[in-house]
């Protein structure tokens, strides 16, 4: 019996927002008479912390303390459209919606302040809850007083709406070419996994993962770390543990309870070393790109590369269960070499399984290199 250690690398990219775009988020911001800020947006908080991120964006866009901002995302009567919390669109698209709304409200604050201070709005700036004349810091009015003046003197509601929508990108069905960018931004990540492989049981233990993420701007680093940590564990589950159909393609032996479904637990937790890079996007709120979805994409290939580094076999079917590792070790399959071709995995290819000689109706080959 021997245990072998190995290290593997994977590098990935992931788009922000729905593929091909066309997925709006909208928001509404209003000020109470004391300057406190209400944000209405339909972004669902599925644990990623979108309420926190949205209120952070609004606070800094308006120039008010964070604890002045509340957010209602509870229903479709009060909140305008949000396409949904998926496709890593919350911070970028939902965040832009609240940013745009807050920018509009900010303009209204400056308008009212301008009337109160009798200074042109262009000569005013907002900082720490106060509207201050540029170059004359003693001439200022608090946003609380601006909101009060709007309410009781000017008979106005300080409010702003915002909508973020990139137009739908049309795909050419023959070539896949798009007419415009089909995403809002692209995030990148690298993962290095270190594993230990038991060549007698096939068991793989992930000892450590070093993960580097470019998220554009970490609006809330703690929440970003949560996504990275969580994605790492989900990626570990994908790479090593979980299978809805343990004998795929058979549909038999699906577990019906957690006790019979191998989900990552605390006992699987490796050492995680996270590095966040901030290479800002041009259009995202404060330069943000995205983090949520991509966070479980790099681990499965990194883990399987590490298995190869440790014991010299490629496990190309995820999860790399002890059985798959052992069978690969038993087989020690070498690729077939045919001229300059190096062919792995022939037996599981479409042509290896399908009866129709690997051609579709148009005669296109389901084999990678045509005969």
């Amino acid at each position: 019996m021997a245990k072998h250690r190995g290290r593997g690398i994977a590098t990935i990219e992931y788009p922000t927002g729905m593929n091909q775009n066309g997925d709006p988020s909208q928001a509404w911001v209003k000020l109470k008479p004391d300057g406190r800020v209400d944000v209405f947006a339909g972004t669902v908080d599925i644990g990623q912390g979108s309420r926190t991120v949205h209120t952070q964006i609004v606070a800094d866009t308006l120039g008010v303390p964070y604890d002045w901002v509340t957010m209602d995302n509870t229903n479709t009567d009060s909140s305008p459209v949000c396409t949904g919390s998926f496709a890593s669109r919350g911070t970028f698209i939902g965040g832009n919606a609240v940013r745009f709304a807050a920018e509009k409200a900010r303009e209204r604050v400056l308008d009212i302040a301008s009337k109160e201070l009798e200074i042109d709005p262009a000569d005013l700036e907002i900082a720490d809850g106060e509207v201050v004349a540029k170059g004359a810091p003693d001439r200022k009015i608090s946003i609380s007083d601006v909101a009060a003046a709007a309410t009781w003197v000017h008979g106005e509601l300080i409010t702003g709406t915002g909508a973020a929508l990139k137009p739908y990108a049309v795909v050419d069905d023959d070539t896949g070419k798009v007419d415009i960018d089909p995403h809002s931004a692209i995030s990148y990540a690298a993962c290095v996994a270190e594993v230990e492989v038991d060549d007698e049981t096939g068991e793989v233990t992930v000892e450590k993962m070093v993960q580097v993420y470019d998220v554009g701007r970490a609006i809330n680093p703690m929440l970003v770390e949560g996504q990275i940590d969580g994605g790492a564990m989900m990626g570990l589950g994908l790479g090593l543990l979980e299978a809805a159909y343990p004998y795929y393609p058979s549909a038999e032996h699906r577990g019906g309870e957690f006790g019979a479904y191998l989900m990552p637990s605390l006992e699987d937790l490796p050492e995680l070393d996270n590095v966040i890079i901030e290479n800002p996007s041009a259009d995202g709120p404060f330069g943000a790109k995205a983090i949520g979805e991509m966070a479980n994409n790099a681990q499965p290939p990194a883990i399987c590369a590490a298995i190869h580094d440790a014991v010299g076999v490629w496990v190309t079917e995820c999860p790399a269960t002890p059985e798959r590792v052992l069978r690969a070790l038993d087989e020690r399959a070498e690729p077939r070499r045919d001229g300059k071709r190096v062919i792995f995995d022939e037996a599981v290819s479409v042509r290896g399984v399908s009866a129709n000689a690997g051609k579709d109706a148009e005669g296109h080959g389901f084999i990678l290199v045509d005969d």
């Binding site: 669902v44 995302n73 069905d173 070539t175 995403h183 692209i186 809805a244 479904y261 690729p335």
Partner: protein
């Protein structure tokens, strides 16, 4: 700036740690009825008899619904985007996966609802299921849908294509061609909060829908379509979800509860058991990916041919969307000048697959990165070096002809190499994402990357 960039606590953090966050099942409305579903015990079968009479007659049962009670029964999750609807809310004359809902009962208690479900008389004509997506192209493959086992609405073709450059020339010019097959499997979403909805019929005729959806407006559109009602008939209440990971983009319970609430004129709650979650909630899709790369001995990837099969399960849901996204990203974090990609959405008699974290791309990240490591191994090169050489750079064109503005392949790789102490030669250590020049702009890339007219 103060708030942005700060490690602020969660907005709802105190509510969470004091047990005050209210998820759907925590909402209590007096007089609520409970829903239970009759689900298919077979993977594939015709329904030859369905009689809900006994269930309807049971005391304490207030509504039983079947396909006949749904104003628009067949709808698709992406119908609004023009993807043809193919999935009935409640089974029509066939069931195409084990666990597919056929009828749903609302009764005074969950036990009573379950007893009523068990009293429904139903008979099936079992058929041979198809589970292996690789066999969907066989002449004798089971026709799961009338149009066959492959989704055929990618414009005129029945598959998603990427065509870029001259892939045959790339393969002819290559020193080595590396082929491999990659097969990540289905997993469960397993949010700890099961699918749950509560629908309250209001006095003014509106329906208040307490939902665990990840997408309130999206789900509202789905419910309104099935009900054929205007949006202001519905008020979705949600925004707080006990985990989703993509599975709660499916509108799994809301529409059925709405129909039961309308029929019974009582609030109705449907909460799936964990057994139902494992049996009938959607999964991440299994994928089958074959890659052949034309490479040079020194590690340039000249071209890629790729075949992808996406196991949609029994109905499309988001599969066509996911496959297109997959196609757009099938070169990973690298620039490959010559491409030929064909991807198919294939139906099988599984629970429909749906979005899950990384949708469409998780699969291709696995395949492309596994393949990259194999290429490095076959060529005897450092996997960091091969990646850095082919890494996305500013101005590079992707497979769908998007000009990259700020790619970070180089930055994340160099940071990773430094963190683990992986030695790189100076020319790689000094790389940036700036546009290619010199040795990093070889002839094969000039033609299709730097001077292509499709920029911006």
């Amino acid at each position: 700036m103060k708030a942005v960039g700060a490690r602020l606590p969660r907005y709802d953090g105190l509510a969470q740690i004091t047990g005050q966050v209210r998820y759907v099942d925590d909402v209590r409305v007096p007089g609520t009825l409970w829903a239970k579903a009759l689900r298919s015990p077979h993977h594939f079968a015709g329904i030859t008899k369905l009689d809900t009479g006994k269930a309807e007659a049971m005391e304490g049962v207030h509504a039983v619904i079947t396909k006949d009670d749904v104003p628009l029964n067949v709808y698709g999750h992406l119908s609004a985007l023009g993807v043809p609807g193919d999935e009935p809310l409640l089974a029509e004359d066939e069931v195409r996966y084990k666990g597919q809902p056929i009828a749903v009962v609302a009764a005074e208690t969950e036990e009573l609802a379950q007893a009523a479900v068990e009293s429904i008389e139903i008979a099936y004509d079992e058929r041979e299921p198809l589970f292996d997506m690789r066999k969907a192209f066989d002449a004798d493959a089971a026709p799961i849908h009338p149009w066959g086992p492959v989704y055929n609405h990618f414009g005129p073709p029945d598959h998603r294509r990427i065509r870029k450059g001259d892939v045959e020339k790339a393969f002819a010019d290559a020193d080595v061609i590396v082929q491999g097959v990659y097969r990540p499997q289905a997993i469960e979403h397993c949010p700890l909060e099961p699918q749950t909805a509560l629908v309250v019929p209001e006095a003014d005729g509106r329906l208040t829908i307490y939902s665990c959806t990840q997408a309130m407006y999206f789900s509202m559109g789905v419910v309104a379509a099935h009900l054929q009602c205007p949006l202001n008939r519905l008020k979705f209440v949600g925004g707080t979800v006990g985990g989703g990971f993509g599975g709660k983009v499916d509108t799994a319970t809301e529409t059925v509860c709405a129909l039961l609430a309308m029929k019974s004129k009582r609030p109705v709650k449907w909460r799936w058991t964990r057994e139902e979650e494992f049996l009938a909630s959607s999964t991440r899709a299994p994928w089958h990916m074959e890659i052949a790369d034309a490479v040079t001995s020194d590690g340039w990837i000249l071209g890629r041919k790729m075949l992808t099969l996406h196991d949609a399960g029994a109905y499309t849901r988001f599969s066509s969307y996911g496959l297109t996204k997959h196609a757009f990203h099938h070169t990973g974090a690298y620039t490959i000048p010559n491409l030929n990609f064909n991807g198919y959405v294939v139906f099988t008699n599984r629970v429909p697959t749906t979005a899950m974290r990384g949708f469409g791309v998780t699969s291709v990240s696995y395949a492309a990165e596994m393949h990259m490591n194999r290429i490095a191994d076959v060529l005897g090169l450092d996997p960091f070096a091969v990646r850095l050489k082919n890494a996305n750079r500013i101005g590079d064109l992707t497979g769908n002809m998007v000009r990259l503005k700020d790619p970070s392949t180089v930055a994340v790789m160099l940071a990773a190499a430094e963190r683990i102490g992986h030695e790189l030669p100076a020319e790689l250590r000094g790389m940036t994402n700036e546009p290619r020049t010199g040795e990093l702009l070889p002839e094969h890339l000039k033609a299709s990357v730097a001077t292509n007219g499709s920029e911006d």
